[in-house]
Assembly symmetry: C2
Homo-oligomer: 225 residues x 2
Amino acid sequence: MNARPASASLNAPALYEQVAERLRTRIFSHDLAPGSWIDEQALAQEYGISRTPLREALKVLASEGLVILKPRRGCYVTELSEQDLDEVFPVMALLEGRVAEEAARRLTSADFSRLQAIHDELEQHAATNDADRFFDANQRFHSALQEIAGNRYLSQLIDDARKVIKLTRRDSLRLDGRLRQSLAEHRDILDALRRGDSGLAGQRMHDHLLSGREALAKLHVASRA
Amino acid sequence: MNARPASASLNAPALYEQVAERLRTRIFSHDLAPGSWIDEQALAQEYGISRTPLREALKVLASEGLVILKPRRGCYVTELSEQDLDEVFPVMALLEGRVAEEAARRLTSADFSRLQAIHDELEQHAATNDADRFFDANQRFHSALQEIAGNRYLSQLIDDARKVIKLTRRDSLRLDGRLRQSLAEHRDILDALRRGDSGLAGQRMHDHLLSGREALAKLHVASRA
DNA sequence: ATTCATAATTATGGATGCAGTATTATTGCA
DNA sequence: TGCAATAATACTGCATCCATAATTATGAAT
Protein backbone atom coordinates (compact mmCIF):
# COMPACT_ATOMS: atom_id res chain seq x y z
CA MET A 1 0.00 0.00 0.00
CA ASN A 2 2.98 2.28 0.26
CA ALA A 3 4.24 4.35 -2.63
CA ARG A 4 7.25 2.22 -3.37
CA PRO A 5 9.93 3.51 -1.05
CA ALA A 6 12.64 2.66 -3.55
CA SER A 7 11.04 4.79 -6.22
CA ALA A 8 12.02 7.93 -4.39
CA SER A 9 15.64 7.39 -5.26
CA LEU A 10 14.84 5.81 -8.60
CA ASN A 11 12.70 8.72 -9.65
CA ALA A 12 15.32 11.22 -8.67
CA PRO A 13 17.09 12.06 -11.90
CA ALA A 14 20.83 11.70 -11.87
CA LEU A 15 22.67 14.80 -10.83
CA TYR A 16 24.17 15.31 -14.26
CA GLU A 17 20.67 15.35 -15.72
CA GLN A 18 19.46 17.91 -13.23
CA VAL A 19 22.46 20.04 -14.03
CA ALA A 20 21.82 19.64 -17.75
CA GLU A 21 18.29 20.90 -17.26
CA ARG A 22 19.41 23.92 -15.26
CA LEU A 23 21.95 24.74 -17.92
CA ARG A 24 19.35 24.43 -20.67
CA THR A 25 17.18 26.95 -18.91
CA ARG A 26 20.06 29.36 -18.57
CA ILE A 27 21.06 28.91 -22.18
CA PHE A 28 17.52 29.50 -23.47
CA SER A 29 17.20 32.61 -21.35
CA HIS A 30 20.50 33.86 -22.75
CA ASP A 31 21.78 34.02 -19.20
CA LEU A 32 24.46 31.96 -20.83
CA ALA A 33 24.69 33.80 -24.11
CA PRO A 34 25.45 32.27 -27.50
CA GLY A 35 29.17 32.13 -28.07
CA SER A 36 30.04 32.61 -24.44
CA TRP A 37 32.52 30.40 -22.67
CA ILE A 38 31.26 28.08 -19.99
CA ASP A 39 33.34 28.32 -16.85
CA GLU A 40 33.25 24.82 -15.37
CA GLN A 41 34.84 25.75 -12.09
CA ALA A 42 32.58 28.71 -11.49
CA LEU A 43 29.44 26.76 -12.31
CA ALA A 44 30.46 23.77 -10.24
CA GLN A 45 31.09 26.05 -7.31
CA GLU A 46 27.83 27.90 -7.85
CA TYR A 47 25.88 24.64 -7.90
CA GLY A 48 27.88 23.24 -5.03
CA ILE A 49 28.97 20.19 -6.98
CA SER A 50 32.18 18.89 -8.46
CA ARG A 51 33.21 19.29 -12.05
CA THR A 52 32.57 15.64 -12.82
CA PRO A 53 28.76 15.66 -13.11
CA LEU A 54 28.93 19.10 -14.69
CA ARG A 55 31.19 17.82 -17.42
CA GLU A 56 28.88 14.88 -18.00
CA ALA A 57 25.99 17.31 -18.37
CA LEU A 58 27.97 19.29 -20.93
CA LYS A 59 28.51 16.12 -22.95
CA VAL A 60 24.76 15.69 -23.10
CA LEU A 61 24.16 19.30 -24.07
CA ALA A 62 26.80 18.99 -26.75
CA SER A 63 25.02 16.07 -28.34
CA GLU A 64 21.85 18.15 -28.26
CA GLY A 65 23.65 20.88 -30.11
CA LEU A 66 23.27 23.47 -27.38
CA VAL A 67 26.98 23.78 -26.73
CA ILE A 68 30.10 22.86 -28.59
CA LEU A 69 33.08 21.19 -26.97
CA LYS A 70 36.39 22.39 -28.26
CA PRO A 71 39.02 19.84 -27.25
CA ARG A 72 41.45 21.29 -24.76
CA ARG A 73 39.80 24.67 -25.20
CA GLY A 74 36.63 24.35 -23.22
CA CYS A 75 32.95 24.55 -23.85
CA TYR A 76 30.99 27.29 -25.60
CA VAL A 77 27.30 28.01 -26.05
CA THR A 78 26.27 27.32 -29.63
CA GLU A 79 25.85 30.29 -31.93
CA LEU A 80 23.37 29.69 -34.72
CA SER A 81 24.14 31.26 -38.06
CA GLU A 82 21.43 32.24 -40.52
CA GLN A 83 22.55 29.25 -42.54
CA ASP A 84 22.01 26.99 -39.55
CA LEU A 85 18.47 28.30 -39.22
CA ASP A 86 17.89 27.78 -42.92
CA GLU A 87 18.89 24.19 -42.42
CA VAL A 88 17.00 23.46 -39.23
CA PHE A 89 13.65 25.04 -40.00
CA PRO A 90 12.89 23.13 -43.21
CA VAL A 91 13.65 19.89 -41.41
CA MET A 92 11.50 20.95 -38.49
CA ALA A 93 8.73 21.80 -40.95
CA LEU A 94 9.05 18.37 -42.48
CA LEU A 95 8.87 16.62 -39.12
CA GLU A 96 6.07 18.70 -37.65
CA GLY A 97 4.17 18.39 -40.90
CA ARG A 98 4.37 14.66 -40.60
CA VAL A 99 3.18 14.80 -37.01
CA ALA A 100 0.15 16.85 -37.99
CA GLU A 101 -0.62 14.47 -40.83
CA GLU A 102 -0.38 11.42 -38.63
CA ALA A 103 -2.28 13.07 -35.80
CA ALA A 104 -5.10 13.93 -38.20
CA ARG A 105 -5.39 10.28 -39.12
CA ARG A 106 -5.60 9.06 -35.54
CA LEU A 107 -7.53 11.93 -34.04
CA THR A 108 -10.38 10.99 -31.71
CA SER A 109 -13.06 13.43 -30.68
CA ALA A 110 -11.55 13.53 -27.20
CA ASP A 111 -8.22 14.44 -28.74
CA PHE A 112 -9.84 17.19 -30.71
CA SER A 113 -11.50 18.65 -27.63
CA ARG A 114 -8.16 18.75 -25.94
CA LEU A 115 -6.58 20.57 -28.86
CA GLN A 116 -9.54 22.90 -29.02
CA ALA A 117 -9.06 23.77 -25.36
CA ILE A 118 -5.42 24.62 -25.89
CA HIS A 119 -6.29 26.58 -28.97
CA ASP A 120 -8.79 28.61 -26.97
CA GLU A 121 -5.94 29.59 -24.71
CA LEU A 122 -4.01 30.71 -27.73
CA GLU A 123 -6.92 32.90 -28.74
CA GLN A 124 -7.02 34.36 -25.25
CA HIS A 125 -3.35 35.17 -25.06
CA ALA A 126 -3.28 36.52 -28.56
CA ALA A 127 -6.13 38.84 -27.63
CA THR A 128 -4.20 40.15 -24.64
CA ASN A 129 -0.98 40.12 -26.63
CA ASP A 130 0.71 37.96 -24.01
CA ALA A 131 3.63 36.54 -25.95
CA ASP A 132 5.00 34.43 -23.09
CA ARG A 133 1.76 32.60 -22.37
CA PHE A 134 1.07 32.31 -26.08
CA PHE A 135 4.45 30.70 -26.52
CA ASP A 136 3.75 28.28 -23.70
CA ALA A 137 0.32 27.28 -24.98
CA ASN A 138 1.75 27.02 -28.46
CA GLN A 139 4.30 24.55 -27.25
CA ARG A 140 1.64 22.51 -25.48
CA PHE A 141 -0.42 22.43 -28.65
CA HIS A 142 2.45 21.02 -30.62
CA SER A 143 3.31 18.55 -27.87
CA ALA A 144 -0.28 17.36 -27.75
CA LEU A 145 -0.20 16.76 -31.47
CA GLN A 146 3.01 14.79 -31.13
CA GLU A 147 1.41 12.62 -28.49
CA ILE A 148 -1.60 11.98 -30.68
CA ALA A 149 0.60 11.12 -33.63
CA GLY A 150 2.10 8.45 -31.41
CA ASN A 151 5.59 8.17 -32.85
CA ARG A 152 8.05 8.57 -29.99
CA TYR A 153 11.08 8.67 -32.23
CA LEU A 154 9.61 11.40 -34.37
CA SER A 155 8.67 13.25 -31.21
CA GLN A 156 12.18 13.05 -29.92
CA LEU A 157 13.67 14.50 -33.07
CA ILE A 158 11.23 17.37 -32.92
CA ASP A 159 11.98 18.01 -29.28
CA ASP A 160 15.67 18.11 -30.07
CA ALA A 161 15.15 20.46 -32.98
CA ARG A 162 13.00 22.67 -30.83
CA LYS A 163 15.82 22.96 -28.33
CA VAL A 164 18.15 24.11 -31.05
CA ILE A 165 15.63 26.60 -32.37
CA LYS A 166 15.07 27.94 -28.88
CA LEU A 167 18.64 29.17 -28.95
CA THR A 168 17.38 32.07 -31.05
CA ARG A 169 14.61 32.83 -28.69
CA ARG A 170 14.42 36.55 -28.85
CA ASP A 171 11.16 35.23 -29.95
CA SER A 172 9.92 35.78 -33.39
CA LEU A 173 6.51 35.91 -31.76
CA ARG A 174 7.42 39.33 -30.49
CA LEU A 175 7.66 40.60 -34.02
CA ASP A 176 4.78 42.92 -34.61
CA GLY A 177 1.86 41.04 -36.09
CA ARG A 178 3.53 37.66 -35.94
CA LEU A 179 1.45 36.57 -32.99
CA ARG A 180 -1.74 37.31 -34.88
CA GLN A 181 -0.45 35.54 -37.95
CA SER A 182 0.63 32.51 -35.97
CA LEU A 183 -2.82 32.34 -34.44
CA ALA A 184 -4.46 32.46 -37.84
CA GLU A 185 -2.25 29.64 -39.04
CA HIS A 186 -3.16 27.61 -35.98
CA ARG A 187 -6.82 28.16 -36.74
CA ASP A 188 -6.30 26.76 -40.20
CA ILE A 189 -4.43 23.76 -38.86
CA LEU A 190 -7.17 23.05 -36.36
CA ASP A 191 -9.69 23.39 -39.13
CA ALA A 192 -7.90 20.81 -41.24
CA LEU A 193 -7.73 18.51 -38.24
CA ARG A 194 -11.45 18.84 -37.59
CA ARG A 195 -12.17 17.96 -41.17
CA GLY A 196 -9.87 15.00 -40.86
CA ASP A 197 -7.93 16.10 -43.91
CA SER A 198 -4.53 14.71 -42.99
CA GLY A 199 -2.81 15.91 -46.13
CA LEU A 200 -4.01 19.43 -45.61
CA ALA A 201 -3.17 19.40 -41.91
CA GLY A 202 0.35 18.29 -42.73
CA GLN A 203 0.72 20.88 -45.42
CA ARG A 204 -0.53 23.70 -43.22
CA MET A 205 1.65 22.70 -40.30
CA HIS A 206 4.62 22.53 -42.64
CA ASP A 207 3.93 26.01 -43.94
CA HIS A 208 3.32 27.26 -40.42
CA LEU A 209 6.85 26.34 -39.46
CA LEU A 210 8.36 27.94 -42.54
CA SER A 211 6.34 31.00 -41.76
CA GLY A 212 7.98 31.02 -38.36
CA ARG A 213 11.36 30.98 -40.03
CA GLU A 214 10.42 33.95 -42.18
CA ALA A 215 9.31 35.92 -39.17
CA LEU A 216 12.62 35.20 -37.50
CA ALA A 217 14.51 36.26 -40.59
CA LYS A 218 12.69 39.57 -40.64
CA LEU A 219 13.53 40.05 -37.01
CA HIS A 220 17.20 39.44 -37.65
CA VAL A 221 17.31 41.79 -40.58
CA ALA A 222 15.55 44.40 -38.50
CA SER A 223 17.96 44.05 -35.59
CA ARG A 224 20.86 44.46 -37.94
CA ALA A 225 19.59 47.77 -39.28
CA MET B 1 54.62 27.63 -44.35
CA ASN B 2 54.47 24.95 -41.70
CA ALA B 3 51.49 22.67 -41.22
CA ARG B 4 50.26 24.23 -38.00
CA PRO B 5 52.10 22.40 -35.27
CA ALA B 6 49.18 22.89 -32.90
CA SER B 7 46.85 21.00 -35.20
CA ALA B 8 48.42 17.73 -34.19
CA SER B 9 46.89 17.91 -30.75
CA LEU B 10 43.78 19.65 -31.99
CA ASN B 11 43.13 16.94 -34.54
CA ALA B 12 43.44 14.22 -31.96
CA PRO B 13 39.88 13.45 -30.88
CA ALA B 14 39.22 13.52 -27.19
CA LEU B 15 39.65 10.21 -25.46
CA TYR B 16 35.96 9.91 -24.64
CA GLU B 17 35.19 10.28 -28.33
CA GLN B 18 37.65 7.58 -29.29
CA VAL B 19 36.14 5.32 -26.68
CA ALA B 20 32.64 6.12 -27.93
CA GLU B 21 33.68 5.08 -31.42
CA ARG B 22 35.18 1.82 -30.23
CA LEU B 23 32.04 1.07 -28.29
CA ARG B 24 29.84 1.84 -31.31
CA THR B 25 31.78 -0.69 -33.34
CA ARG B 26 31.38 -3.33 -30.68
CA ILE B 27 27.69 -2.58 -30.31
CA PHE B 28 27.04 -2.76 -34.06
CA SER B 29 28.91 -6.04 -34.29
CA HIS B 30 26.82 -7.40 -31.42
CA ASP B 31 30.05 -8.01 -29.56
CA LEU B 32 28.13 -6.00 -27.01
CA ALA B 33 24.72 -7.54 -27.57
CA PRO B 34 21.39 -5.73 -27.27
CA GLY B 35 20.15 -5.81 -23.71
CA SER B 36 23.50 -6.72 -22.26
CA TRP B 37 24.96 -4.88 -19.31
CA ILE B 38 28.03 -2.75 -19.86
CA ASP B 39 30.70 -3.44 -17.29
CA GLU B 40 32.44 -0.11 -16.77
CA GLN B 41 35.29 -1.49 -14.73
CA ALA B 42 36.05 -4.31 -17.10
CA LEU B 43 35.98 -2.05 -20.15
CA ALA B 44 38.08 0.64 -18.52
CA GLN B 45 40.64 -1.96 -17.58
CA GLU B 46 40.56 -3.50 -21.03
CA TYR B 47 41.14 -0.11 -22.66
CA GLY B 48 43.70 0.85 -20.06
CA ILE B 49 41.82 3.98 -19.03
CA SER B 50 39.89 5.14 -16.04
CA ARG B 51 36.14 5.02 -15.70
CA THR B 52 35.79 8.78 -16.14
CA PRO B 53 36.23 9.07 -19.91
CA LEU B 54 34.38 5.81 -20.37
CA ARG B 55 31.39 7.14 -18.52
CA GLU B 56 31.47 10.30 -20.62
CA ALA B 57 31.46 8.16 -23.73
CA LEU B 58 28.43 6.30 -22.43
CA LYS B 59 26.61 9.60 -21.97
CA VAL B 60 27.19 10.34 -25.63
CA LEU B 61 26.05 6.90 -26.73
CA ALA B 62 22.97 7.27 -24.57
CA SER B 63 21.98 10.47 -26.34
CA GLU B 64 22.47 8.64 -29.62
CA GLY B 65 20.10 5.97 -28.42
CA LEU B 66 22.64 3.17 -28.58
CA VAL B 67 22.55 2.50 -24.85
CA ILE B 68 20.23 3.35 -22.03
CA LEU B 69 21.39 4.61 -18.67
CA LYS B 70 19.44 3.27 -15.76
CA PRO B 71 20.15 5.48 -12.76
CA ARG B 72 22.01 3.59 -10.06
CA ARG B 73 21.64 0.43 -12.10
CA GLY B 74 24.17 0.82 -14.83
CA CYS B 75 24.20 0.99 -18.58
CA TYR B 76 22.62 -1.42 -21.04
CA VAL B 77 22.82 -1.79 -24.80
CA THR B 78 19.56 -0.66 -26.39
CA GLU B 79 17.13 -3.33 -27.49
CA LEU B 80 14.92 -2.26 -30.36
CA SER B 81 11.38 -3.55 -30.35
CA GLU B 82 9.40 -4.05 -33.53
CA GLN B 83 7.45 -0.99 -32.51
CA ASP B 84 10.67 1.01 -32.30
CA LEU B 85 11.54 -0.03 -35.83
CA ASP B 86 8.08 0.88 -37.00
CA GLU B 87 8.67 4.33 -35.59
CA VAL B 88 12.20 4.87 -36.80
CA PHE B 89 11.94 3.66 -40.37
CA PRO B 90 9.10 5.92 -41.50
CA VAL B 91 10.99 8.91 -40.10
CA MET B 92 14.15 7.75 -41.80
CA ALA B 93 12.20 7.38 -45.03
CA LEU B 94 10.91 10.91 -44.64
CA LEU B 95 14.38 12.32 -44.05
CA GLU B 96 16.16 10.34 -46.73
CA GLY B 97 13.37 11.12 -49.16
CA ARG B 98 13.92 14.78 -48.53
CA VAL B 99 17.65 14.38 -49.07
CA ALA B 100 17.09 12.70 -52.42
CA GLU B 101 14.64 15.39 -53.44
CA GLU B 102 17.00 18.19 -52.51
CA ALA B 103 20.00 16.43 -54.04
CA ALA B 104 18.11 16.05 -57.30
CA ARG B 105 17.55 19.79 -57.40
CA ARG B 106 21.19 20.63 -56.85
CA LEU B 107 22.80 17.80 -58.78
CA THR B 108 25.66 18.74 -61.06
CA SER B 109 26.99 16.44 -63.74
CA ALA B 110 30.11 15.90 -61.65
CA ASP B 111 27.90 14.86 -58.76
CA PHE B 112 26.06 12.45 -60.97
CA SER B 113 29.24 10.84 -62.18
CA ARG B 114 30.27 10.31 -58.61
CA LEU B 115 26.98 8.66 -57.77
CA GLN B 116 27.17 6.60 -60.91
CA ALA B 117 30.61 5.35 -59.89
CA ILE B 118 29.35 4.25 -56.49
CA HIS B 119 26.32 2.67 -58.09
CA ASP B 120 28.58 0.68 -60.39
CA GLU B 121 30.20 -0.76 -57.28
CA LEU B 122 26.77 -1.73 -56.04
CA GLU B 123 26.15 -3.57 -59.28
CA GLN B 124 29.46 -5.34 -58.90
CA HIS B 125 28.91 -6.47 -55.36
CA ALA B 126 25.35 -7.48 -56.05
CA ALA B 127 26.60 -9.62 -58.91
CA THR B 128 29.07 -11.40 -56.64
CA ASN B 129 26.52 -11.43 -53.81
CA ASP B 130 28.97 -9.69 -51.48
CA ALA B 131 26.65 -8.31 -48.81
CA ASP B 132 29.36 -6.61 -46.77
CA ARG B 133 30.79 -4.60 -49.64
CA PHE B 134 27.33 -3.90 -50.94
CA PHE B 135 26.40 -2.54 -47.54
CA ASP B 136 29.48 -0.37 -47.49
CA ALA B 137 28.94 1.05 -50.97
CA ASN B 138 25.29 1.54 -50.16
CA GLN B 139 26.23 3.67 -47.20
CA ARG B 140 28.61 5.72 -49.30
CA PHE B 141 25.90 6.28 -51.87
CA HIS B 142 23.56 7.65 -49.27
CA SER B 143 26.29 9.75 -47.71
CA ALA B 144 27.17 11.22 -51.08
CA LEU B 145 23.54 12.17 -51.61
CA GLN B 146 23.46 13.82 -48.20
CA GLU B 147 26.51 15.84 -49.08
CA ILE B 148 24.98 16.94 -52.36
CA ALA B 149 21.75 17.91 -50.64
CA GLY B 150 23.84 20.22 -48.52
CA ASN B 151 21.83 20.34 -45.32
CA ARG B 152 24.12 19.46 -42.44
CA TYR B 153 21.36 19.33 -39.88
CA LEU B 154 19.33 16.96 -41.99
CA SER B 155 22.44 14.89 -42.52
CA GLN B 156 23.06 14.65 -38.83
CA LEU B 157 19.58 13.42 -38.08
CA ILE B 158 19.95 10.76 -40.72
CA ASP B 159 23.33 9.71 -39.39
CA ASP B 160 21.86 9.36 -35.94
CA ALA B 161 18.90 7.38 -37.20
CA ARG B 162 21.22 5.15 -39.15
CA LYS B 163 23.14 4.37 -35.97
CA VAL B 164 19.94 3.31 -34.29
CA ILE B 165 18.92 1.19 -37.22
CA LYS B 166 22.32 -0.44 -37.29
CA LEU B 167 21.50 -1.94 -33.90
CA THR B 168 19.44 -4.50 -35.79
CA ARG B 169 22.23 -5.33 -38.13
CA ARG B 170 21.74 -8.95 -38.71
CA ASP B 171 21.41 -7.28 -42.00
CA SER B 172 18.22 -7.36 -43.88
CA LEU B 173 20.46 -7.37 -46.94
CA ARG B 174 21.25 -10.97 -46.17
CA LEU B 175 17.65 -11.87 -46.67
CA ASP B 176 17.41 -13.88 -49.83
CA GLY B 177 16.66 -11.65 -52.79
CA ARG B 178 16.79 -8.43 -50.78
CA LEU B 179 20.15 -7.47 -52.19
CA ARG B 180 18.82 -7.76 -55.72
CA GLN B 181 15.72 -5.81 -54.82
CA SER B 182 17.71 -3.08 -53.12
CA LEU B 183 19.87 -2.78 -56.21
CA ALA B 184 16.82 -2.43 -58.43
CA GLU B 185 15.48 0.31 -56.20
CA HIS B 186 18.79 2.09 -56.36
CA ARG B 187 18.69 1.93 -60.14
CA ASP B 188 15.33 3.61 -60.11
CA ILE B 189 16.53 6.29 -57.73
CA LEU B 190 19.55 6.98 -59.90
CA ASP B 191 17.27 7.11 -62.89
CA ALA B 192 15.09 9.75 -61.27
CA LEU B 193 18.19 11.72 -60.34
CA ARG B 194 19.48 11.62 -63.90
CA ARG B 195 16.18 12.90 -65.16
CA GLY B 196 16.29 15.64 -62.57
CA ASP B 197 12.86 14.68 -61.32
CA SER B 198 13.24 15.69 -57.69
CA GLY B 199 9.74 14.67 -56.66
CA LEU B 200 10.19 11.22 -58.10
CA ALA B 201 13.66 10.83 -56.62
CA GLY B 202 12.30 11.72 -53.20
CA GLN B 203 9.39 9.35 -53.58
CA ARG B 204 11.54 6.47 -54.69
CA MET B 205 14.06 6.99 -51.94
CA HIS B 206 11.24 7.13 -49.43
CA ASP B 207 9.81 3.86 -50.69
CA HIS B 208 13.28 2.34 -50.77
CA LEU B 209 13.63 2.87 -47.05
CA LEU B 210 10.21 1.46 -46.28
CA SER B 211 11.08 -1.49 -48.42
CA GLY B 212 14.12 -1.96 -46.19
CA ARG B 213 11.85 -2.05 -43.18
CA GLU B 214 9.68 -4.71 -44.77
CA ALA B 215 12.68 -6.86 -45.52
CA LEU B 216 13.76 -6.57 -41.91
CA ALA B 217 10.28 -7.47 -40.70
CA LYS B 218 10.31 -10.62 -42.81
CA LEU B 219 13.66 -11.51 -41.40
CA HIS B 220 12.41 -11.13 -37.86
CA VAL B 221 9.31 -13.17 -38.52
CA ALA B 222 11.48 -15.85 -40.11
CA SER B 223 13.90 -15.96 -37.19
CA ARG B 224 11.00 -16.39 -34.84
CA ALA B 225 9.69 -19.41 -36.68
C1' DA C 1 56.84 51.53 -28.87
C1' DT C 2 56.01 47.17 -30.73
C1' DT C 3 56.94 42.48 -31.18
C1' DC C 4 58.71 38.23 -29.86
C1' DA C 5 60.24 35.00 -26.43
C1' DT C 6 59.73 33.15 -22.04
C1' DA C 7 57.71 32.41 -17.57
C1' DA C 8 53.61 32.13 -14.62
C1' DT C 9 48.97 31.12 -14.26
C1' DT C 10 44.91 28.80 -15.25
C1' DA C 11 41.85 25.38 -17.26
C1' DT C 12 41.02 20.96 -19.24
C1' DG C 13 41.16 15.96 -19.28
C1' DG C 14 42.03 11.93 -16.90
C1' DA C 15 43.02 9.02 -12.58
C1' DT C 16 41.97 7.74 -8.11
C1' DG C 17 39.34 7.42 -3.89
C1' DC C 18 35.14 7.04 -1.28
C1' DA C 19 30.20 7.05 0.22
C1' DG C 20 25.81 5.21 -0.69
C1' DT C 21 22.87 1.90 -2.85
C1' DA C 22 21.63 -2.21 -5.35
C1' DT C 23 22.55 -7.02 -5.81
C1' DT C 24 23.88 -11.36 -4.34
C1' DA C 25 25.02 -14.73 -0.89
C1' DT C 26 24.29 -16.68 3.50
C1' DT C 27 21.97 -18.06 7.44
C1' DG C 28 18.00 -18.82 10.31
C1' DC C 29 13.28 -20.13 10.58
C1' DA C 30 8.95 -22.13 9.25
C1' DT D 1 13.04 -28.03 1.70
C1' DG D 2 11.58 -23.43 0.68
C1' DC D 3 11.33 -18.69 2.06
C1' DA D 4 12.54 -14.62 4.42
C1' DA D 5 15.68 -11.70 6.72
C1' DT D 6 20.16 -10.11 7.08
C1' DA D 7 24.96 -9.76 6.04
C1' DA D 8 28.53 -9.42 2.52
C1' DT D 9 29.90 -7.94 -1.88
C1' DA D 10 29.98 -5.17 -5.90
C1' DC D 11 28.91 -1.29 -8.57
C1' DT D 12 27.44 3.35 -9.46
C1' DG D 13 27.91 8.24 -8.85
C1' DC D 14 30.32 12.03 -7.11
C1' DA D 15 34.43 14.37 -5.21
C1' DT D 16 39.21 15.24 -5.15
C1' DC D 17 43.69 15.24 -7.02
C1' DC D 18 47.24 15.60 -10.62
C1' DA D 19 49.52 16.06 -15.22
C1' DT D 20 49.49 18.35 -19.43
C1' DA D 21 48.36 21.83 -22.48
C1' DA D 22 46.64 26.52 -23.39
C1' DT D 23 46.39 31.23 -22.19
C1' DT D 24 47.94 35.28 -20.29
C1' DA D 25 51.36 38.19 -18.27
C1' DT D 26 56.01 39.78 -18.10
C1' DG D 27 60.28 41.25 -19.81
C1' DA D 28 63.82 41.86 -23.27
C1' DA D 29 65.40 43.23 -27.71
C1' DT D 30 65.00 45.58 -31.96
